[in-house]
């Protein structure tokens, strides 16, 4: 697989290309269209998007979520008889799922259902982390970058204090405090300790943009601060924010699995992908599939999201990939 962004031209019929009468080609594209076009051409990102969608759909339709039932009849909580040593039945009889596609654990729980449940919970936590991080990071970074002075000093000292401690340490502590209150609170709590990177980036962007002529111009005609921030500066930082938010989701997945490994994440009987690996790590030799499936799902999700983030970065800021002329 490659992350080629300058591959052979792909035929596109939706492109707003007009051929003028004088034979000169005029290609008119808005900023948004150009970003979308570059993103759609990023093959790795498209592959990542496809994989992620597939996993999301699979996880939520198979065993259902909340009041909605799914097409898979086994529960992740129900134990049963262990068939064939719990070996996976996926593709053992042709192209079919079989009775227990991902196998069973030692008490006969259906591992497919468990992995699906783990995927659901990990995704929920990761997305909540992503959302909370983005909101906090943008808010704090924007305030610090725009207002300067005391506001900035206070906010950036807080940021520095948080950065000076490894994220995992803070995360472990908030997980210890909030972890038992359910996954939504866990996600929010983790979001509260991971916004620092984005805040610094947004602050940097704001500091650069607030000196730009178009902001000066807006200020000169008496535009309010709120309007300058929301209409003039924020749209110009949206690329950085979206990219970082995406990467925060990938980091969130891994953070949740790490905490689960330390026994601080999602608490039994509920499961996450991280807690599954932790629970079955000793089965590496006897029943390796119990170790492999959740790991593969974590890597697939994180990799997909990271590639999507890379595609977005290239789409918003193609500088790095362009040959200078």
């Amino acid at each position: 697989m490659s992350t080629n962004t300058e591959g052979p031209p792909v035929t596109r019929d939706h492109e707003p290309t007009q051929v003028a009468d004088d034979g000169m080609e005029v290609i008119a594209r808005t900023q948004g269209q150009m970003v979308l076009r570059r993103f759609l051409r990023h093959r790795a990102a498209m592959l990542g998007l496809g994989t992620l969608l597939f996993i999301v759909v699979l996880a939520y339709t198979s065993i259902g979520y909340g009041p909605f039932g799914g097409w898979w009849d086994k529960s992740f909580l129900r134990t049963g008889t262990v068939l064939d040593g719990g070996r996976p039945t996926l593709f053992t009889e042709g192209f079919a799922l079989g009775e227990h596609p991902f196998g069973q654990d030692n008490v006969g729980k259906d591992y497919f259902a468990l992995v699906m449940r783990g995927t659901q919970q990990s995704l929920v936590v990761a997305f909540i982390i992503g959302i909370v991080t983005t909101l906090l990071g943008t808010l704090i970074g924007a305030a610090a970058g725009f207002f300067r002075g005391r506001t900035e000093a206070v906010l950036m000292r807080i940021t520095d204090a948080m950065i000076s401690v490894p994220t995992l340490i803070f995360a472990a502590i908030v997980a210890a405090v909030f972890g038992r209150t359910g996954i939504v609170f866990l996600g929010i709590a983790l979001g509260v300790v991971t916004w620092t990177g984005l805040a610094r980036l947004v602050r940097g962007e704001f500091m650069a943009l607030r000196e730009k002529e178009f902001v000066e111009a807006a200020r000169a005609i008496g535009t309010s601060n709120w309007r300058i921030i929301t209409k003039h500066i924020l749209p110009n930082t949206v690329g950085v924010i979206i990219v970082t938010a995406t990467l925060a989701i990938a980091a969130g997945i891994l953070l949740e699995t790490a905490l689960s490994f330390l026994g601080l994440g999602i608490q039994p009987p509920d499961v996450s992908l991280g807690s599954l690996i932790t629970e079955y790590q000793t089965a590496m030799v006897s029943r390796p599939w119990l170790f492999w499936w959740p790991g593969i799902f974590i890597v697939a999700i994180a990799l997909s999201v990271n590639f999507i983030g890379d595609g977005l970065r290239d789409a918003f800021d193609p500088r790095q990939n362009r040959v200078r002329d």
Partner: protein, 366 residues
């Protein structure tokens, strides 16, 4: 590699002795023949330079004028071998009779900075921020001459002094960020002439500077050029600069030269509507008639899909059906050294003020 004082540049390169090449006049230094440069991009092939030919004589100042994107900078980067690897370059560049583009990388490099030097547009970014001025100047000497570092630094101080930087020896220890923009451009000039080059390519050397500093820098450049007996290719979009210093001028449009002549006659009698248009678009203090400026309307064509005929046709007040169909070649006009690429140069020759053709356009248009 034999070596001596940089004041005697002849032995600075390892290249073989020069042979006279057919058609080269005795004092011709550089001849560019049918140079083309194109860049593959996502949207197609950008034809940045589409066949440029000119020559530069010893100690001459050749001005190259054009809008941004006319290929003036790209063509000069091509003859320095500084284009990115993706660029496709064809044609020939004869320096003292040898085709630079055919030379091996090693020999090309021996010319670069030694025989052919370059000054760039933005002095704020053209110097490496992490090395002192002395280091960077000495490096230019040491990359072509084998000598103790101390001697190279002496040479650097001498050059800084020549370009008008006071306390040159002390300032060698300073870093670029400790200099103003004008001073940095002086350093760039010192760096360009430190190996006594035969030709200096100055790519918009004053564009990024304050107006008051611009004149000083041009003056310094001319003084230094005379001191080392170099020729200059002055690339600019500023006709004022050209009028001030260029002996001959080449006007470029959409990757091609459209008019070449001695500067005086060209300014007095342009033979290409584009040149006339450029002159009409400069404000003049002496002009008491209270006339409006006469800008050229429209924009240059896309270099990806050029028209079949004259590239200037869509913007030209003289255009006819002929201009749409065939691209005019660069031909001799009413004077032998005055060449222009226009089907209708006679029309310009027929009137007193060729810029007047642009008058109706702009003034009616409002």
């Amino acid at each position: 590699m034999s070596m001596s004082d940089p004041a005697h540049p002849e032995d600075a390169t390892t290249t073989p002795p020069l042979d006279a090449v057919d058609g080269r006049t005795s004092d011709e230094l550089l001849r560019v023949e049918d140079l083309t440069v194109s860049f593959p991009t996502d949207d197609g092939l950008v034809q940045a330079v589409r066949g440029v030919s000119y020559s530069v004589r010893e100690r001459e100042v050749l001005g190259i004028v054009g809008e941004s994107g006319s290929g003036k900078s790209v063509s000069s980067m091509a003859l320095m071998g500084l284009l990115p690897k993706s660029a496709r370059v064809t044609g020939s560049v004869y320096f003292r009779g040898r085709d630079v583009l055919q030379l091996r990388e090693k020999h090309q490099r021996a010319l670069r900075g030694s025989r052919i030097a370059m000054i760039f547009q933005d002095p704020m970014t053209a110097l490496n921020p992490v090395y002192s001025i002395g280091d960077q100047l000495a490096e230019a000497v040491l990359s072509h001459h084998t000598m103790p570092r101390k001697k190279a630094l002496d040479r650097a101080a001498e050059m800084l002094d020549m370009v008008g930087i006071p306390q040159a020896r002390e300032r060698l220890r300073n870093y670029p960020h400790e200099f103003s923009g004008g001073m940095r451009q002086r350093v760039m000039i010192a760096m360009a002439v430190i190996n006594n080059p035969d030709i200096i390519i100055a790519d918009e050397p004053t564009t990024a500077l304050d107006v008051t500093v611009q004149a000083q820098i041009l003056e310094t450049l001319i003084e230094v050029k005379d001191a080392v007996n170099a020729a200059i290719i002055m690339i600019t979009h500023d006709l004022g600069v050209i009028a001030g210093i260029a002996d001959r001028t080449l006007v470029m449009y959409a990757g091609k030269p459209v008019e070449v002549a001695e500067t005086g006659p060209m300014f007095a009698n342009p033979r290409m509507p584009y040149t006339a248009g450029l002159m009409g678009s400069i404000p003049s203090l002496e002009d008491s008639t209270n006339e409006r400026l006469r800008p050229i309307k429209g924009t240059p064509p896309s270099l990806i899909s050029l028209p079949i005929g004259c590239a200037f046709e869509p913007r030209c007040p003289l255009s006819t059906a002929e201009c749409l169909e065939t691209e005019p070649p660069l031909t001799e006009t009413d004077k032998p050294d005055h060449v222009a690429a226009c089907h209708h140069w006679q029309k310009l020759a027929a009137v007193d003020d060729p810029t007047a053709y642009f008058r109706t356009e702009s003034e009616v248009g409002r």
